[in-house]
């Protein structure tokens, strides 16, 4: 790795930016197909109702309308599947009710798809939808975990008694109970992890087309994982073979997990295009996005930490209830289990950990992955509890963490994971220095002089990213592998096309992956282009989520480049009349070791495609594909520090400083990595201080638009201090760990711990997210009686 101006480690400006900055990005809604019609999805306005006949005659007769389809019309089509089978404590499989794309018999949340109207224009389709008459009988709804678990609660599904999907556990309960019996101190905490709405700024959209000449369907869709969508839509819903179903996810305007799932609308559009033989386009408006994009988080937890007299952690017991919404979305069931419960060792040596999770159906939008997906929920609980333990034991917040840190690697946790590498002291020390932790009391005094309450908060955390290996996740219930593919095509004159099964929707893969390939092959950065997002162009792929793209997808590309180099050596050896073993490859040249005799990559590539003088038995061409199945998760780790100033008169929290100190493994492009951290921090701060999805008891979404769901804006946030201490992942050749979710995982507890630190002098010892001025003000009033 040469580390040159555009190579690994350089802050190369992004290839993507010119098109995005000049309005030439190509997002799904920018695409129009000849003869296209427009679909409008009629959604349920009731959270729970029996539906009878859907009268569509008036809508069908409306101007411009080509067709109207409701649930009965799609009755023979498969339901929307879920991707992970969870087993309960007693070994029984989770309850997995059917999820028809268009509601059949019942609607189960406000936003549930009831019918599609297809017309010449979008306005005509929307207007005609108003003429559909749905026979409905409203049923009582359950809109929260507490409502779902209440005695005699309405049932979302008859087959799920008590609205329970599963009751899962991980860890050694007996060992954990024993740890509590031996403990000198037990500290308990109750926390709610507030429900969030993802809000990628690009709303979802799709265009489906069916070509009767080839029998091929094409779906353009806002997806983070087009091949996964093809698998689910083709194999499970429509019964289409892969070679007749092409999924294209072009430029996608942010995902954050909400564009992972295979959505009902994708199935409805594709099926409808087949029925009509015309392209059908659908673009979600924001109001519908609030009630149809999968939501995130929504946990209620109780946890206990057992400590010895010196503050050493002995055991952790976590009991969580979570809300899955009305149907099981693609990764819904694994997020609060295998991406949550197994995180509870954190960076600590706690020898006994037990976590149980009971998941409930409710009459709300399905809940799935959202930036961090399970890991923010675990980290928030753990880091709030550790702070509370320090407070109750009268210990220093930093020291209680430090004295429990894991320092020997590999480290086998009591909850399934084996950490390969890390240096938690180093990121902690860096954070303390960068945040001027030691100088805080002076700043607190300065704030106090102005009548303000200043607080500082910390969280030390690990993540588990690049979820893997396939055999392990398969044994835990995953219904897909979690590897990645990469292909590298060296063209005859030496330029390179790279094909990745990951998908970039803001992460800058076209730049980062080009840096890797350019660096390894010694070709100009501008001579490398990265192709993604089209199932017709990419061999296969699992897409982008869980901070997996570099660690898993980048490694697949790395391995494909190595194969290219190996083949190139054979060609060069032939041309140079030398032994393959004597050929070295560096800076784009194949050289006979110890000589100045060499052939450039371009010469070798040309030879591969014009094989007039060529090794016997070797295939022409210079293109290689690698599939990489990781050996383990990766384990980014870090310390985040937040500093707040609270106005005791209004309860307003001013976030004055945020410091990230992170170990994300090998950094390919520091500029892009910093950007990923910034975005994650903003998302985490949004959860901590602003964002909250609220349902009324009857299942109506109260926070259903940007008018009443608070998104972080520029003036709500400070500039961030970003710092790195790198240890390399030991099991992938890039040493990469992942960075996309760091901020949203690490920072929420740091912010809330800071708010509590500020308010503690007033007698406030607890605070829920989001710490809005109203909530803070009320806490102050209650504490002061």
């Amino acid at each position: 790795m040469s580390g040159n101006g555009t190579g690994i480690g350089a802050s190369v400006k992004r290839k993507e930016d010119t098109r995005f900055l000049t309005g030439r990005g190509r997002y799904t809604d920018d695409i129009n197909l000849p003869g296209q019609l427009y679909g409008y999805i009629l959604r349920s306005g009731m959270a729970h109702a029996k539906i009878g006949t859907v009268h569509t005659d008036a809508a069908k007769a409306a101007p411009g309308v080509h067709a109207v389809f409701a649930g009965k019309d799609m009755e023979g089509v498969g339901g929307i599947p879920t991707g992970w089978l969870i087993h309960s404590k007693d070994g029984s499989p989770m309850v997995e009710p059917p999820h028809p794309a268009l509601a059949l018999g019942k609607v189960r949340y406000v936003g549930d798809c009831v019918a599609i109207v297809v017309a010449e224009t979008a306005d005509q389709a929307r207007a005609a939808a108003n003429l559909i008459d749905v026979e409905r009988e409203e049923l009582p709804a359950v809109a929260s975990i507490k409502a779902a678990e209440a005695d005699g609660a309405p049932q979302v599904f008859d087959e799920a008694p008590g609205n329970v999907c599963y009751d899962w556990e991980v860890g050694d309960k007996a060992a954990t109970d024993a740890a509590f019996e031996a403990a000198d101190h037990v500290v308990s905490i109750d926390v709610v992890n507030n429900r969030l709405i993802p809000n990628a700024i690009e709303p979802r959209a799709a265009i489906a087309n069916y070509d009767p000449a080839t029998g091929e369907y094409t779906l353009y869709t806002t997806s983070q994982n087009p091949h996964l969508t093809r698998l689910l839509l083709g194999a499970f819903v429509l019964g289409l073979p892969e070679h007749k179903l092409r999924i294209v996810a072009p430029d996608v305007g942010g995902g954050f997990g909400s564009k992972i799932p295979h959505y009902a609308e994708e199935a409805i559009l594709t099926w409808t295009a087949g029925q009509l033989g015309r392209p059908v386009k659908w673009t979600c408006d924001r109001i519908d996005a609030f009630k149809s994009d999968t939501h995130g988080r929504d946990h209620i937890s109780t946890a206990r930490l057992a400590l010895d007299a010196d503050g050493k952690f002995l055991g952790l017991h976590v009991s969580t209830k979570c809300n899955l919404g009305a149907y099981l979305s693609t990764f819904a069931t694994c997020v609060p289990t295998y991406l949550y419960g197994i995180l509870f060792a954190g960076p600590y040596t706690t020898p006994a950990v037990y976590c149980e999770v009971k998941s409930f159906f409710t009459n709300t939008v399905p809940v799935d992955a959202l930036r961090g997906a399970g890991r923010p929920e675990a980290t928030y609980l753990l880091e709030r509890l550790v702070d509370k333990a320090a407070s109750e034991l009268g210990m220093d917040r930093v020291e209680i963490r430090r004295q429990n840190f894991i320092r020997e690697f590999p480290y086998q946790t009591p909850v399934a994971l084996q950490y390969d590498q890390g240096d938690y002291d180093a990121t902690l020390d860096l954070a303390l220095e960068a945040s001027d932790w030691d100088g805080f009391e002076a700043r607190r005094a300065e704030s106090a002089a102005r009548g303000k309450l200043r607080g500082i908060g910390i969280s030390t955390f690990i993540e588990a990213c690049g979820i893997a290996p396939s055999a392990v996740v398969g044994s835990l219930g995953a219904r897909a592998g979690l590897y990645e593919s990469g292909s590298v095509r060296v063209h005859p004159t030496g330029s390179v096309s790279v094909f990745t099964g990951t998908h970039s929707h803001g992460q800058g893969h076209e730049t980062t992956f080009a840096q890797i390939v350019s660096d390894m092959l010694g070709v100009d950065f501008d001579a490398v282009d990265v192709v993604h997002g089209d199932s017709a162009k990419i061999p296969f792929g699992m897409g982008t989520y869980g901070s997996r793209s570099l660690a898993v997808g980048g490694t697949a590309i790395y391995l494909a480049v190595e194969k290219v180099i190996e083949k190139g050596k054979k060609i060069a050896a032939h041309l140079l009349e030398a032994s393959v073993e004597d050929i070295e490859f560096e800076n784009g040249s194949f050289t006979v070791a110890g000589t100045d005799r060499s052939k450039s990559l371009g010469e070798v590539a040309l030879t591969a495609y014009v094989p007039h003088n060529y090794p016997e038995g070797l295939e022409p061409g210079l293109e290689e594909t690698a599939f990489y199945d990781p050996l383990n998760f990766t384990f980014p780790a870090g310390t985040h520090v937040a500093e707040v100033e609270v106005d005791p008169e209004t309860g307003e929290v001013d976030l004055v400083a945020v410091t990230g100190s992170d170990d994300v493994g090998r950094i390919i492009n520091p500029m892009i990595v910093a950007g990923q951290l910034h975005g994650g921090l903003a998302h985490g701060i949004g959860q901590a201080l602003m964002e909250e999805c609220v349902y009324q008891d009857d299942g109506q979404l109260e926070t259903g638009s940007y008018m009443n769901y608070t998104m972080p804006r520029a003036a709500d946030l400070p500039s961030f201090s970003i710092n790195h201490n790198t240890t390399l992942c030991t099991h992938n050749p890039l040493g990469a760990k992942g960075v996309g979710e760091v901020g949203s995982i690490g920072v929420p507890p740091a912010v809330i711990n800071a708010v509590i630190d500020a308010l503690r002098p007033l007698g406030v010892h607890d605070m829920s997210m989001p710490a809005t001025s109203q909530r803070v003000w009320q806490a102050i009033q209650q504490a002061q009686g």
Partner: protein
């Protein structure tokens, strides 16, 4: 149906629209200028910001007929040929964009600020961007880009 005529990115463009047609719909669907994006329906996100007679306007909140006779600049019209506008260049230089969806609105809003204030403080930039949502960047690099772009513009464009 009314006919509207306006100058869009230096060219005179006309079209027959419904009275209710929004400016953003005219730009995207009639003129094929898909660089202007729609991210919400409550005039909150700012992805649709264009310039109407030199001022940043949310084109989802303006009827096409209201822009009749106006001089409209969209993101497609900001660069000078292949030379990026200084604000576009600053966004590229400072990594002020990730997924690119909010970017056209951000850049055009920022140009309007820079036309009014060639040396905005961080606070002034953050306050100015009140009407533009970004979910990717945490605004950190957008703020840096806007300050650098404003300086590069030298107070007017």
């Amino acid at each position: 149906m009314p006919t509207v005529t306006m100058t869009v990115n230096g060219m005179q463009r006309s079209g027959t629209v419904e009275s209710r047609t929004l400016l953003v719909e005219f730009l995207r669907e009639h003129l094929g200028l898909t660089g202007t994006h729609v991210g919400c329906d409550t005039s909150q996100c700012g992805a649709c910001v264009v310039h109407v007679s030199g001022t940043s306007v949310k084109s989802c909140t303006c009827l096409a007929v209201q822009a009749d006779g106006a001089d409209v600049t969209t993101i497609e019209g900001l660069a000078n040929g292949t030379d990026l506008h200084p604000m576009q260049e600053a966004f590229r230089e400072h990594h002020g964009l990730q997924c690119g969806f909010c970017t056209p609105g951000m850049v055009l809003s920022a140009v309007d600020l820079a036309n009014r204030n060639s040396n905005p403080s961080e606070h002034e930039v953050r306050e100015w961007l009140e009407g533009n949502l970004c979910r990717c960047t945490g605004y950190h690099n957008i703020v840096k880009a806007v300050q650098a772009g404003a300086q590069a513009m030298g107070g007017g464009s």
